[in-house]
Each structure stands twice: as C-alpha cells, then as structure tokens.
C-alpha cells in the first residue's frame, strides 16, 4: 500500500502541489493528534488513580479533542477540492492522449478505447481523484497505527515486528484479493463497454426516433441486463473466493493480539507495569488492531492506482502513435504543382479486402477534381489518406514531389479545408462552429457564412451568430440537417479564407434543399477559383462543374476526363449521369435526349 499511496501523492502533487501538501499535512497532524490523545488518556487515568491533580491532562485532552474536530471538516473540504482538480487534470490528459496522435488508427483501436475508459475509473466506478478524499485519512490512520505501535514497542520492543508482520500479511492479502477483482473487471472492459453502449442507446436522443418506431426499449433493457450480468457473474465469483483464508487470518490475529494482552495483564497483576501504563498499552493495541483491516477507504485508492496504470498505458500508446506519424514541414504553400497518389495500397485495420490496390492519381494544384463512384468505393478513404489520417500500406502520396510520410501531419492539415459527409455538429455557438475551421486566425466569419449561403439562416437564429446550436442548452436552437451542412461548408470556406489551399467537399449538399444545392453549384466556380478542390458527390449537378472528373471502382480509377468527354465516351459515367438526368426529362425517357441536351 505504501507504494500505492506514494504514487498517488506524486500524481496529485503534479496537479496541485500546494493542495497536496496541505491535505497530506492535515492528515498527518490528525494522525499525530490521536496517539497524543491516547497518552493524555493514560495520564488522566493515572492522575485520577493516584489522586494527583488532573488539570494538566484535562486541558491537554480538551485542546487535542477540539483541534481534531476543527481539522476534520477542513481536511475533507480540501480533499474534495483536490479530488476534483485531479480528476479534471486526468480527464484532460485522457482527452489529449486520445486527440493528439495525428492518425485515426489510434482512436479506432478497441484497446485504446478500453484504456481510456479504465484510466478514468469508468470500469470500477471509482475515479483516481476520488482517493484524494480518502488519502489524508489513510495517512492519519497510518500515523496513528505507527505511533500506537511505538507505544507498544516502548513496552516490549519485539511485539512491534510481530504485530507489523501479522497486520501486514492480513492487509496485503485483502488488498491483493480486491486488486484481482478489479483486474478481472478491467479484463472485461470490451464486454462492459458493449453493455454500456446498449444503455447509452436507450438514453440518447440521436436514435430516439427509431427506438420509438421500432419499440426497442424492452430489447435494449433485456440485452443490457443479460450482457452486463454475463460479465459481472465472473467478477462476483472471484470476489466471493478465499473466505477460508480470511477466517484463518482473523484467527491468527486473535492469537497474536491475545499474546500481547496476556503479557500486559500478567505484568499489571504482578505490579511490573502501573495501571496507567497498562491502560496506555491496551489502548495502543486496540488502535493498532485496525491496521490489519481493508475497507472502503483503501478500496478506492487501490482502484485508483490500477486506473493510473491504464493512463500510463494509454499515454504510451499515444506517444507511439504520435511518433509513427511524424515528419517535417510541408513545402511552402503546398500544393503549388500537384498531389500525386502513386501505387497506393490501403487496407483498414481488421479488414481483409484492400480499399485501394495500386491506386494512381495525380491532382493538379489550383484546379478542381470530382471523384465519382459507388458506395464503399473508397472515396472518403481517399480523403483520409490525403489528410494523413492513415499512411498507405504501400506506395506513396507526393505533395509537390515530397512524400507525405515525411511531412508533419499537423502542419500539413492547416493547408486542408474539408467538409465531411458526417461533418461535426458542435454544440457551441454558430460563430464558433465556423471559426473552428481556422483556430487562432482572426478571419471574417460572416463572409464565409454568406458564401456558404448561411446568411438567412443566421438571421433567423434568436441570438444570431452567438446562438448555441443545440436544443439541449438554454437559449439554444436545433438546426435541420441541411442547415447544419451550410455551416459545415462555411467552416471549410472560412479555412480557405484563412489560408488553406486544398478544399475537400465530401457530399457537400446531400442534406440541402434545392435552393441550397443550386446556390452551391452556381457558385462552385467562385468557391473553388485558385484553390485545389476535390469534390466527392453522387449529385452530378455539382460533379459536372469540376474541371476534371474521375470514376473510381474497386480501388482503381476507371475513367478520367471532363464532363463533356466522359458523357461522350458513353461508358460508366455517362450511364450514371443519364440515370439521374433522364428523370428530369419530360415525356418518355430517352437517354440520348439527356445526352444531347447536356
């Protein structure tokens, strides 16, 4: 336990040294008050017995008792402040360890997700900081036990090692028992997370509509119960083991303590030890007896220590993930010439089929390129590789001739302005939703908003740009999918305004209404002028405006050209285009009509 306490103290001190010192000192002084109290009791008993003046011991007792009562609330309060500060600091460390590694593989690794949950005590329900409340009391107890043993030692020195060993064995046995139960729980984290996921599904609003239409409440409850119980049964079995040893330990302690009491009683009866001495030693023995116990006060620090182990693991993994994707600065203003995919092969971790195999594509800087393909063809993966969220398994991506593997992803990404299909809906103000596109740059948010066609939407919001975009917050407003998408577009355009050179539009109008979509494609040329633009879309209205279009199938570019060229070619692109276009042609559909009108 000593190691555990010291380690917790180190971590706490790294968060708030003054508070940690104060809490430790308060615990320590409370610990010192207790044996003083024992001594004063002995002195008082002796004074009363011998008929001497009891004033001295009485005053001492009064002072000690009052002090103790005054220190207690302060210690508790400071302990809980420290607990909150520690948990907040550790939460920040987990956030950093999850968000800082530049690659996505890190945050998609189930082991990392497990460790993130374990590190904040999500498995046991005890946060590492929680023990800051217990810690002063543990220190108090330790000092109390130690000084009580000193009193016993003054009587018979050899009783100290005997008791220390006995209590040490008992305490360590119980702690390792509970540690093992905690470790069993940690081993089941993935299964526990699955159970908690089912609980989350029942409680969150994101799936609330389908939960109701399909009547899923009882299904979620049943599944949650059964999967949780499956996990907990193993843990309970483990916790209930070892009763025989525990009873044996209790009996052993009675024997050792019985020996001490027998000695004291014999010596007092024989007159070798005074009454006051006898009382002091027995009080000390009773006080020290608690040293062999393991209760809630120790359970939380024990669990907290195991959680800190997981935080170490998480941070080591994060450091490794960070190093794996390191690099130097990108060429100035890149790309000024081109971005080239050369023989790129990429397979998602855990999947057998590669998304790309020997994929080649050169993107000219300053021009627009549209990528067309069926669902699952790898269009979004292409963007992830371009942003160096993953490195290719084989082949390379060259930015102005420099391998992306040698470019620092953080700096490179300042050049990128993406709108993802599943774009982020930040529960912050409308202004910040856009400004997050280029943090630290003081750009014109309203201009980006206007460009994305969000001006009228902002005008409708109760507090304009300052409205929080979530109905979950007082004064907040919920946006529709199309409205959100305009803001996501504004975010990317803001990034371009602030200096990003590559605009990536992944289905930028999927949720927009007709006018919004029309606005975007009418302005497409304005939005993309001079910016290297990559647009991914199923809507040909947008695609056809790009300078160049490539059709991707089975991880390969199968067609490449301008809209007119590809339609004239009459192959895949032409067929897909006509499928959509034909529906806009009045009268009996004839693909050739669509083609000639194009």
């Amino acid at each position: 336990m000593a190691n555990g306490v010291l380690r917790l103290l180190r971590v706490f001190a790294s968060v708030d040294r003054r508070l940690t010192v104060a809490v430790t000192a308060l615990g320590g002084s409370q610990g010192l008050l207790l044996p003083s109290f024992t001594l004063a009791i002995g002195a008082l008993a002796g004074a009363v017995e011998s008929g001497a003046s009891a004033t001295g011991p009485l005053v001492a007792l009064a002072v000690l008792f009052t002090l103790q009562r005054l220190l207690d609330p302060v210690t508790t309060e400071l302990g809980s402040i420290l607990a909150r500060e520690v948990d907040e600091a550790l939460t920040a460390r987990v956030m950093r360890a999850m968000a800082e590694p530049p690659g996505l593989a890190h945050v998609e690794d189930p082991e990392v997700l497990d460790a993130a949950l374990q590190a904040l005590g999500g498995v046991t329900g005890t946060t590492p900081g929680a023990s800051a409340v217990q810690l002063p009391f543990i220190i108090k107890r330790r000092i109390w036990y130690g000084s009580s043993l000193l009193i016993v030692g003054a009587y018979r020195w050899w009783l100290v090692p005997v008791l220390l060993v006995a209590y040490g064995i008992a305490f360590r046995f119980l702690r390792s028992h509970h540690d093992q139960v905690t470790l069993v729980m940690h081993g089941q984290t993935d299964r526990l997370r699955r159970a908690y996921y089912l609980r989350t599904l029942a409680l969150t609003h994101t799936v609330a509509k389908e939960t109701r239409v399909f009547g899923l409440a009882p299904w979620f409850v049943d599944r949650y119960r059964s999967s949780w119980l499956d996990v907990m049964r193993d843990i309970w079995a483990r916790r209930n083991e070892r009763w025989r040893e525990i009873v044996g330990l209790a009996a052993g302690l009675v024997a050792v303590e019985g020996l001490a009491f027998w000695l004291v009683a014999t010596d007092v009866a024989a007159g070798d030890l005074g009454v006051a001495g006898g009382v002091i030693v027995t009080q000390a023995l009773v006080a020290a007896a608690a040293a062999g116990q393991f209760d809630w006060i120790y359970l939380e620090p024990a669990q907290g220590n195991l959680a800190l182990d997981k935080l170490d693991v998480l941070e080591q993994r994060a450091a490794r993930a960070r190093d794996a994707l390191a690099g130097g600065p990108p060429p100035a203003e890149a790309p000024t010439r081109s971005i080239r995919f050369e023989g790129v092969r990429f397979t998602y971790p855990g999947r057998d089929e590669p998304v790309f195999d020997d994929f080649d594509l050169e993107i000219d800087a300053g021009r627009s390129l549209a990528i067309v393909g069926e669902n699952g063809a790898g269009k979004t993966t292409f963007v992830k590789l371009l942003a160096r969220l993953y490195d290719p398994d084989e082949g390379r991506i060259l930015v102005d001739g420099v391998d992306l593997r040698h470019i620092d992803p953080v700096t490179w990404r300042r050049r990128l302005a993406p709108v993802f299909q599943d774009f982020l809906q930040l529960e912050v103000s409308a202004h910040d939703n856009v400004a997050f596109g280029a943090l630290g740059v003081d750009g014109d948010v309203a201009r980006a908003g206007n460009l994305a066609g969000a001006a009228s939407l902002i005008a409708r919001l109760p507090s304009g740009w300052n409205t929080v975009l979530s109905r979950e917050f007082t004064g907040g407003t919920q946006l529709s999918g199309g409205e959100w998408q305009r803001l996501a577009l504004a975010r990317a355009l803001y990034a371009v305004q602030c200096g990003a050179g590559v605009l990536i539009l992944d289905e930028p109008t999927a949720a927009m209404d007709v006018r919004g979509e029309a606005e975007v494609y009418d302005r497409f040329l304005d939005l993309t002028r001079g910016v290297t633009t990559i647009v991914i879309s199923h809507r040909f209205s947008t695609v056809r405006r790009a300078d160049r279009i490539v059709v991707v199938e089975h991880g390969q570019v199968v067609e490449d050209g301008s809209h007119a060229e590809l339609v004239a070619r009459g192959d895949r692109y032409a067929r897909m285009y006509q499928l959509q276009a034909a529906r806009f042609v009045e009268g009996p559909t004839d693909p050739t009509v669509a083609e000639t009108s194009a």
Partner: protein, 596 residues
C-alpha cells in the same frame, strides 16, 4: 415529512427489488459492525478495572471480550464490503434498467429535447450512485440508534447527568444537513455546465469526431474551453465549500465544549470517590466514539439528503412518464385497422415545438389517400419532418387532428399504431451491433436470418452484408473489438433494411432515404420501392410518404405536397404542379437546369 417518508419507502422498495436478500444482510452486517465497537468499550472497562484491582483473570476476561469483538469486526467488515459492493451493483442494474425503460419507453420526444428535462434526466443518471445503496443510510441509521442507545445506557451507568452529552451533537447533524441541501441545489444548477464539459470530452475522445478534431487542430481549443468552464463551476463549488466548513466548525466547537464538560464532571466525581478510574476511561472512550458516531451521523444525514433528492427526481421522472403514457392512452381505444380504406386526413393541424414559442405548422389540411405514394417537398426548415413526426406520434398536434380512416389517431394506442409504421430517417441510427441486430431490430419479434436477408433485399442492401467478413455475424462500427466500419452510404442502406423489416406497414415514411446513396443504388431502390408500394397499396391500402430534395424521385409520386411557411402551399401530381407554374415548378426547374 410525508414526502420524506415516501422517499424512504421508495428507497427501501428500490433496494428490495434490486436484491432483497443482500438488502437484509447489509443491515445485519452494518449493525454487527457498529455494535461491536461500543461493546468493546465494555471489554476495555473490565480490563481496566482488572488492572486497578490487580486481578489478572478479570483483566484477561476483559481482553477476551475485546479480542472476540475485534475478530468479529474484521470478518463483518469483509463481508459487508462484499455485500455492499454487490448490492450497489445490483441496484445500479435495476435502476439503469428502470431509467432506460422510462427514457426509451416514453412515446414522445419532448424529454430528449428540452434543457430543463435533460437536466433532470442527466442528474438522475449521475445520481444512480446515491440511489444504488438506499439501505446504506438506513442500515447505518439503525446501527447508530442501537449504538447511541448503548452509549447513553453506559453514560447513565456512570451518572444520569451525562446522558445530556449526546444532545451537544445535534447541531452538527443540523449543520451537515443544511450544508448538504445547499450542495444539492448547486449541483442542480450546474447540470448544464456539466453537460458542456462532457460534450468537450466526447469530441476529443470519440472516433466519430476524430477526423475533424485532427484536421482543424481542435485539441487545445477543446481543452482550453473545458478548463474555462470547469473553473467557473469550481469557483461556485469552492465558495459553497467554505461556507460549509465554517458552519460545521461552529457546530463541532459546541460538541467539544460538551465533551470537555462531561470529562471534568466525571474526573471530579472520581476524585470525590463517586466514580472509578474505569468510569473515567469509559467516558473518555465513549466520548471519542460518540465523536465518531456524530461524524458518521453527519455523513448519513448528508447521504440521506442526497438520496432523498435523487429519489424525488426519479419519482418525478416516473410520474412524468406515467403522465405521458396516460395522456396518450385513449379512454376508448380504437383498433388499428388491418388495411386502410380511405386514408389519412390531416385536419387544421398546427404545431410548435414545446418551449420554442414559434409555430412550425399552421392549420395544415391534407388528405393522404389509401394506397398512394405521397412526396413532400419544401425548403430546409419548412416543416416536412415535423409533419412526419406528428404522423409517427412523436408529438401531438397543438391544434387540429389527424384521422386514420375517419378514426382520430389519438384514440388509437401509440404502440399498436407504431407497429404498423415503418420509417427510414435522414438522421438514421448507426447501431454498433452485429449486422444481424443492426438490421433485425426493425422487428424484434423476428429471430431468423432469412427474414433479415429478405428485408435487406427489399432495401437493395444485400451486397453490404455480402461484403462483410462474417456476414450477418459481423460486429459493425469501430467502437468494439473486431468491429468493421462502414461508409455512410452503407450505413444508410442498412437503416433502410431495418425499415423494411416490417412486412405489413400501413404507413411507410422515407425521410431523405437516399441522401448518402450513389446514383445506381438510388435508381434501383426507387424502382423497388415503387413496386413494393404498389403491392402494399393493393394488399392493404398502405401509404408511402417520401421526403426528398431530389425531384427526379419526387416526380414519380401520385401526390406531391409542397410545404412552405408552415402550410401546404401546393398539392397535386407532377404534371399538375408543373402546369400550375408555382413554387414546385420553380424548384424543379432549378434542379433540372443542372442536367441540361
């Protein structure tokens, strides 16, 4: 007081239902554990008197009592630790299930969307810990009473006047209770702030937001914002903390005065020969015990206040859920029709989201004929999805009514109606379950892969599952071990498959079902839906509602409704609306232009 009793009763009930046997055992161990300590004081008294009389055998008798009780105390401690942990876990499971059932079981959506409700639900979730061991304060209270009684008896044994000592402890209990009430109120006020903290944490740690957090470099900003918010909340907490410390310090000083008084009293009695040295030791050790007990009493008062608050909240939520259910349960329930003969009529329906004050729909009148395919078009925020939400009964109209074959929808039980509704939403759920479950939950009564595959085929989504490494048994999503992530389009296909699990819906709602789909899939899907809609229409007069911005699809509908400004602006089929040259024709041309 009555409310406190009701709370107490509910606490007992929760614990009892969660785990009856351990609830009882928790009380027994708590009492045993606490009772062993004052009894030990008796042992110490015998021991001391034995010392004074130089009587070794009496001293050893006292020692035997002390040792036996210490051993019992140790075993009880271990047992009660295990039992309390297990009881806590079982109660949490019980409460989780209960809260899940309440939250997901409420037919409407209002409680998911209003901050004041969310605060309550969030607090209930956070307070599960307090609710999870209602027997704790109860058992400790029982034990404390037992202990106090024995303490008082022993004090009276020394001198009756000493029985006044426990009275000096009353202010400490009062001070703790008061401080705790203030704390509970503070926690209530901080619910929204804590939600902000959690949102920032999730943005930084969840795989879903990882792409943008990295590309836009948001990490430091998220950390900075979270810390700033935390500091605001923490300032309030520290301010209150200081007040609580001052309050309890004052109360403890009073008790210390009482204790010292009792001690002086006993010492003087002993010096007169009215009391023994053993009595002095007894008062001394009882005093420290009483001190311990008062601290525990304070903790229990605090615990009780918190638990009381949590139970009250849970009761409020249970009542709220029951209220919603009651409001939605018709007095004279009408049966869900087997098939639609006439159709669905919307009569003068108005609606505004609760708490927003603005009307989304105003006096909407429309007729959805049985067996028809109806498309709803309009600009973002025009109220298309809202109309669908009313038809699904997520909300009730604020005015007007909806008739199904002439029967008011309100008189049809919600569950029964929803069993005959199938939906595919724009913001569909991405259930990170096995592929079989992700689709199969569309009809939880089905437990057959063949039905799941058939539904997928109806949704033109079979190939998504074909490509998965272990087919329907594949874990989906990146969250869990062995999970396979899908593209958004693939997720959407599975969501459509889920909607197709219902084989005989009367109403099929497709809200932007193809936003993430590629052109060939969209084409295949609509041919299939058109065919299925015709079959459904023939068999049971089923109505298909399609919300879409793609006019290529919309034009196929029998009836097209154009919503603008909360009203039906235009209605008719494609040809009629084009001839009319209104909003529909304008929007259609806008889109068609892109293909010319």
């Amino acid at each position: 007081m009555r409310s406190a009793l009701r709370t107490l009763a509910l606490m007992v009930q929760i614990s009892w239902r969660a785990d009856a046997a351990r609830s009882v055992f928790a009380v027994i161990t708590a009492v045993g554990q606490m009772a062993s300590l004052p009894l030990r004081a008796i042992g110490l008294k015998i021991l001391t008197d034995g010392f004074v009389a130089a009587d070794r055998s009496e001293a050893l008798r006292g020692a035997a009592v002390v040792l036996a009780l210490s051993a019992l105390h140790r075993l009880m401690l271990h047992a009660s630790l295990n039992v309390r942990m297990r009881l806590r876990e079982n109660t949490q499971l019980y409460l989780d299930s209960h809260i899940m059932d309440l939250t997901a079981g409420i037919p409407g959506l209002e409680h998911h969307e209003r901050p004041e409700y969310l605060d309550q639900v969030e607090l209930i979730r956070n307070e599960r810990g307090y609710l999870a061991n209602p027997f704790n304060p109860i058992s400790w209270t029982i034990a404390s009473i037992f202990q106090s009684a024995s303490v008082v008896a022993m004090l009276v044994g020394v001198h009756p006047a000493l029985a006044l000592l426990p009275l000096f402890g009353i202010p400490t209990a009062w001070a703790t209770g008061r401080g705790e009430y203030r704390l509970v109120a503070l926690v209530d006020g901080q619910a929204e702030g804590n939600r902000v903290l959690r949102h920032h944490f999730e943005l930084a740690t969840k795989p879903e937001s990882a792409k943008e957090v990295r590309i836009f470099g948001l990490t430091d900003e998220l950390l900075r914002r979270r810390r700033a918010r935390f500091d605001v909340l923490e300032r309030e907490r520290r301010q209150l903390g200081l007040e609580r410390v001052l309050l309890s310090t004052g109360a403890w000083l009073l008790f210390a005065a009482g204790y010292v008084g009792a001690l002086v009293f006993t010492v003087r009695a002993a010096s007169r020969g009215d009391a023994t040295v053993g009595d002095v030791v007894l008062v001394l050790s009882i005093g420290t015990q009483l001190d311990q007990q008062l601290a525990e009493l304070g903790e229990n008062v605090a615990w009780f206040v918190r638990t009381h608050r949590a139970v009250r909240r849970l009761r409020w939520f249970t009542d709220y859920a029951e209220g919603v259910h009651a409001a939605l349960t018709p007095a004279a329930p009408a049966a869900v029709p087997d098939r639609l003969a006439g159709g669905i009529t919307v009569e003068g329906v108005s609606f505004g989201y609760p708490g927003t004050g603005t009307a989304v729909l105003e006096g909407v009148d429309l007729q959805l004929p049985a067996g028809s395919t109806v498309a709803i078009v309009g600009e973002n925020g025009a109220g298309k999805t809202t109309l669908v939400k009313l038809l699904c009964r997520f909300y009730e109209p604020t005015a007007g009514r909806i008739l199904v074959d002439g029967v008011d929808l309100r008189s049809i039980p919600v569950d029964g109606w929803r069993r005959r509704v199938a939906t595919g939403f724009q913001d569909f759920a991405m259930f990170q379950l096995l592929a079989r479950e992700t689709v199969g939950v569309g009809d939880t009564s089905v437990d057959d892969d063949a039905d799941v595959l058939a539904a997928l085929a109806r949704a033109a989504a079979a190939e998504v599952v074909d490509e998965l490494p272990t087919g329907l048994g594949t874990q989906l999503g990146r969250e869990f071990d062995g999970g396979v992530e899908l593209s958004l389009g693939q997720w959407q296909k599975l969501a459509l498959g889920r909607a197709m699990m219902r084989e005989t819906p009367l109403l099929l709602v497709l809200d932007e079902p193809t936003a993430s789909l590629d052109a060939p899939t969209e084409h295949r899907l609509f041919e299939r839906f058109a065919g299925a809609a015709q079959d459904a229409a023939r068999e049971r007069g089923a109505i298909t509602i399609l919300i879409s911005h793609r006019f290529s699809t919309v034009r196929m509908a029998d009836l097209i409704l154009v919503i603008a400004g909360g009203r039906i602006a235009e209605a008719g089929d494609h040809a009629t609306l084009m001839r009319a040259g209104g909003l529909y024709a304008e929007l259609y041309d806008l889109q068609a232009r892109a293909y010319r």
